[in-house]
């Protein structure tokens, strides 16, 4: 319990300290020390509780319980007031209305009904929350370390008269971590809901951080979409509380497996999780989030926010499957995976490509959770782990590249292999981990595919088959930009801050280590988790049936992954003088500049642009149908849950 308390409260303390510190040096020291302590505590927690099954905790006294509930309620109301004030200031009525509905709903429920519902255990730790704690504690705080160097550059680029708001930025980052820890350990749904809303508001503030018009618009899009999710979450709590007099996550899941009247609240929780996980039709908030400074994007995409959504979905997975909420969630997830993978092809902005790929991968996790078989849950958990490692690595690389080449456009990453040799190698590794065997992401995708086929789900098989093909296209062409060499380019990565290198190195190490240790993580952490989650509900699962891929094959890909990672990081330097000129139709003028003599006899540089296939995969063509279809699936799913469940 003390470890949970530390992980939830200590980041808050760090946040408070960072809010008052104005000195850059002091800020860096506090950030480094806090990040190290949080990571250490997360690892300690993992070491202590791994293999213990589920451990439940309670606060020392009922009075403490009550106090925490009151604080949670006060935080809920404060958040609502903040949203209402901000919305009124910028005249955004939709979030205002949503907050006005949600806050009284929660307050009335808490004050009238919730007090009379007995709560046995307020907190729990199981292997899934340990995995999440490690992701938040190591990757999340690693990103905070990276932010120190990045925000120094960012502040140096501020326009005259703009205020340096870095204290707020760092305070928000650490508050975010605290809320995430609360979210993954809370068994009391009211507390989980408070954490849920804190993450929503934190990311709202972080997205709007730069206060440009675009940033403000995008932050409001984020908040209204996530408030719909918050409202669905609140509605689910109230429904469950009124009908079943239950307020604990583990009991809700146990009841949910029975279906019936629980279908509607489960569908509502699923909807809430899908908004947070940026599933279509709510995917546009995550695309808009990229206006924020890169550490924010890295944090939102890899270790917090969207991961809260898929975390809840994986928790709910035993209640899903071939029932109304299950089918709704698997179709939305699979469809989002396909459409966002396709739309990523048409993007040249690196952060937007990363955002689409995040949404797509979250879609795959969502689909797996919806299928809900042991093999699918296994795949979902691994997708979550590898996505966290690889995506943080990629965001950090893109952010650093942006500060040095002055652009986040992939077209401007020509010859990065020579201009930023180390960074390009890390970026290449990150991309490989994201989409190709033998690295973890694809191996997890393989497991997902196997589980879809085993459950005979033709629609998901098709989504995955076509989506994967699109994935190959947009990653491979990006890699093509990076690997291009052209001799004697100036190296421009000397000025990268040390903390940036440390974090990038950490993420690269995590991504490769997880790929190599895949079989061990499977056997030691994930299979036991699924074993005891499902053992209590159904009969006879075996370890072999849980892991979608046999141990032999896992070891084989692990070895190949290690080998490939070593080769990629150890790629030789490109340039040297004894090399041949490339073929420019025999009209070469200067090889290093790729100049050739054109038809006027003038020297002309050869340049090359990637393919974007706008006519096939452009947003203009695909976005509207995507939103319409997935919205229809949600509406249909919720109504089906309502009718079949018979709660009305």
């Amino acid at each position: 319990m003390s470890l949970i308390a530390f992980l939830v409260l200590f980041p808050l303390l760090a946040a408070a300290l960072l809010l008052v510190l104005r000195d850059d040096k002091a800020r860096s020291v506090v950030t480094y020390v806090s990040a190290a302590l949080i990571a250490f505590a997360a690892i300690l927690l993992a070491v202590t509780y791994l293999g213990a099954g589920v451990t439940y905790f309670n606060l020392p006294s009922d009075a403490a319980d009550e106090a925490v509930s009151i604080i949670a309620l006060l935080v809920d109301i404060a958040l609502a007031v903040y949203i209402i004030a901000k919305s009124a200031k910028y005249r955004k009525w939709l979030p205002l209305v949503l907050a006005l509905i949600q806050a009284p709903l929660v307050a009335v429920f808490e004050l009238t009904k919730a007090g009379s519902i007995p709560v046995d255990f307020g907190f729990y730790i199981d292997n899934l929350s340990i995995i999440m704690a490690l992701i938040i504690g190591i990757i999340g705080s690693g990103i905070c370390v990276y932010a120190v160097g990045y925000m120094r550059d960012h502040a140096a680029h501020l326009k005259e008269g703009e205020k340096d708001r870095r204290p707020v930025f760092f305070a928000l980052m650490f508050t975010f971590l605290s809320a995430m820890f609360l979210l993954v350990f809370a068994n009391n749904l009211m507390w989980m809901f408070t954490a849920w809303e804190i993450t929503t508001v934190c990311s709202f503030a972080l997205i709007g951080y730069t206060r440009t018009e675009e940033a403000i618009n995008n932050s409001f899009r984020q908040i209204w979409m996530n408030l719909i999710g918050g409202l669905a979450f609140a509605a689910a709590i109230v429904l469950i509380g009124m009908q079943q007099s239950v307020l604990e996550l583990d009991k809700v899941i146990n009841l949910g497996i029975g279906g019936g009247i629980m279908l509607l609240p489960i569908a509502c929780l699923g909807l809430a999780a899908c908004t947070k996980a940026a599933q279509s039709p709510f995917h546009s908030w995550l695309l808009g989030a990229m206006v924020a400074p890169t550490p924010t994007s890295a944090l939102l995409h890899s270790s917090t926010m969207v991961k809260a959504g898929v975390f809840l979905l994986i928790k709910l997975a035993p209640c899903l499957g071939f029932n109304a909420p299950g089918i709704m969630i698997m179709i939305v997830g699979g469809f989002t995976f396909l459409m966002c993978s396709c739309m990523a092809i048409s993007q040249s902005n690196a952060k937007r490509v990363l955002a689409y790929s995040t949404i797509a991968n979250l879609g795959l996790i969502t689909a797996c959770a919806g299928v809900g078989t042991p093999a699918a849950i296994w795949a979902a958990i691994f997708l979550l782990i590898f996505h966290a490692c690889a995506k943080s690595l990629l965001f950090l690389c893109v952010g650093t590249a942006e500060h040095h080449i002055g652009s986040r456009n992939i077209e401007d990453m020509d010859y990065l292999f020579e201009r930023m040799p180390n960074l390009a190698r890390f970026m290449l590794l990150g991309i490989l981990v994201m989409f190709i065997a033998p690295f973890g992401m694809l191996v997890s995708k393989w497991a997902a595919f196997t589980s879809f086929i085993e459950s005979g789900n033709l629609l998901l098989i098709l989504f995955l088959a076509f989506g994967s093909a699109a994935t190959f296209f947009f990653w491979a062409k990006w890699m093509g930009k990076l690997v291009t060499c052209c001799g004697n380019k100036q190296v421009i990565e000397g000025s990268i801050h040390k903390p940036e290198w440390v974090s990038i190195g950490l993420m690269a190490a995590l991504a490769s280590l997880c790929s190599v240790l895949f079989p061990i993580i499977s056997k030691g952490v994930v299979v036991p988790y699924i074993g005891y989650v499902l053992a209590s509900h159904s009969t006879g699962f075996y370890a072999q049936a849980i892991a979608a891929i046999s141990a032999d094959n896992l070891w084989l890909v692990a070895i190949l992954a290690l080998f490939t990672a070593v080769v990629m990081l150890g790629l030789p330097k490109a340039g040297s003088n004894d090399e041949l000129d490339v073929y420019l139709a025999g009209a070469n003028v200067d090889n290093d500049g790729r100049l050739f003599k054109n038809s006027f006899g003038q020297p002309m540089a050869y340049t090359q642009r990637n393919w974007y296939l706008e006519g096939f995969f452009g947003e203009a063509r695909l976005d509207k149908p995507t939103v319409a279809i997935s919205l229809a699936v949600f509406v249909f799913g919720i109504f089906a849950a309502m009718l079949i469940g018979g709660g009305f």
Binding site: W446, F449, L458, L462, A469, S550
Partner: protein, 289 residues
């Protein structure tokens, strides 16, 4: 069976692939009214490439090509050892990715365009390949190649449409006309050869060698549709594989190159329609061998 199949995958497959390339050239020549080279010509070419000085436009290209060859060999060996079919597909994709990177690396206009088109080709055939994997699983109840070869009936009975679809994308995979978009083996199709424009000597020899492995591996996939337990099944499977390759040669010599738009559209539509129909019927009727 481990050692013999290891030897087959590692050593016999490229020899057969080399002979296949020779036969291909001979038959192609006859179709065009020429005498054609000796069947061993691909081998002579390979020997000659090995003997040449290897020049580089940059130092990374040969590393990528080595990785390409390595992963193609691993995929082939895994397949003939009877490993997991999806794993074979994925390792092969990794190999092709390295080939693509090798083509991008020199920053050469011709090679880069070839690489772009090869990515497009991968995107065009990948859905069909994954659906074939799904179909083979539904037909035989396993992803293990060795278990698929022991089926009591050939999988093609269950997967007639996917078999046709697979033959269609095989043309793209083998880079044969009308889908020789990224590089062509026909001298008349292009003046500068796409992806391998900047490769020479041993680097180019490695590409040739990898291509021999690939051809045999793909014919292995074709055979997988037809094979059933026992000698008869094996012989029929080999005959069908040979027939399919002849068909590829025939198509290769009778079609001019199509645009990439057609390659992408046609293979995605085919994958969607054939996959939906074939897998849908299997799943609806609950059929399985």
């Amino acid at each position: 069976m481990f050692i013999p199949m290891l030897i087959f995958g590692l050593i016999c497959a490229p020899i057969l692939g080399c002979l296949l390339a020779g036969v291909d050239r001979k038959i192609t020549a006859r179709m065009q009214g020429r005498v054609g080279p000796s069947i061993l010509q691909p081998y002579y070419d390979f020997r000659k490439l090995l003997g040449k000085d290897t020049g580089h436009t940059n130092r990374t290209e040969s590393v990528y090509i080595f990785m390409y060859l390595l992963f193609v060999v691993i995929a082939t060996v895994l397949f003939f050892l009877g490993g997991n079919f999806l794993l074979v597909v994925f390792v092969l994709t990794l190999g092709v990715l390295f080939f693509i990177l090798a083509a991008y690396a020199p920053g050469s206009p011709y090679a880069s365009i070839g690489a772009n088109r090869e990515i497009l080709a991968v995107m065009a055939y990948e859905p069909m390949v994954l659906l074939v994997a799904a179909g083979l699983y539904l037909a035989t109840g396993t992803f293990d190649v060795v278990a698929m070869t022991q089926a009591s009936k050939p999988a093609i009975i269950m997967l007639p449409l996917l078999f046709l679809g697979f033959i269609y994308v095989l043309t793209i995979k083998l880079r044969k006309s009308p889908f020789d978009l990224s590089m062509s083996h026909h001298a008349h199709q292009e003046l500068v050869r796409g992806m391998t424009t900047e490769m020479n000597g041993q680097t180019l020899a490695m590409v040739e060698l990898a291509h021999w492995y690939e051809s045999i591996l793909y014919l292995g996939w074709v055979a997988l549709f037809v094979i059933w337990k026992g000698w008869v099944g094996l012989i029929v499977a080999l005959l069908v594989a040979a027939l399919v390759y002849f068909l590829e040669i025939l198509v290769d010599n009778n079609f001019a190159r199509m645009k990439w738009q057609f390659a992408l559209k046609s293979s995605w539509w085919l994958a969607l329609i054939l996959g939906l129909l074939n897998l849908g019927v299997i799943l609806l009727l609950g059929l399985a061998l």
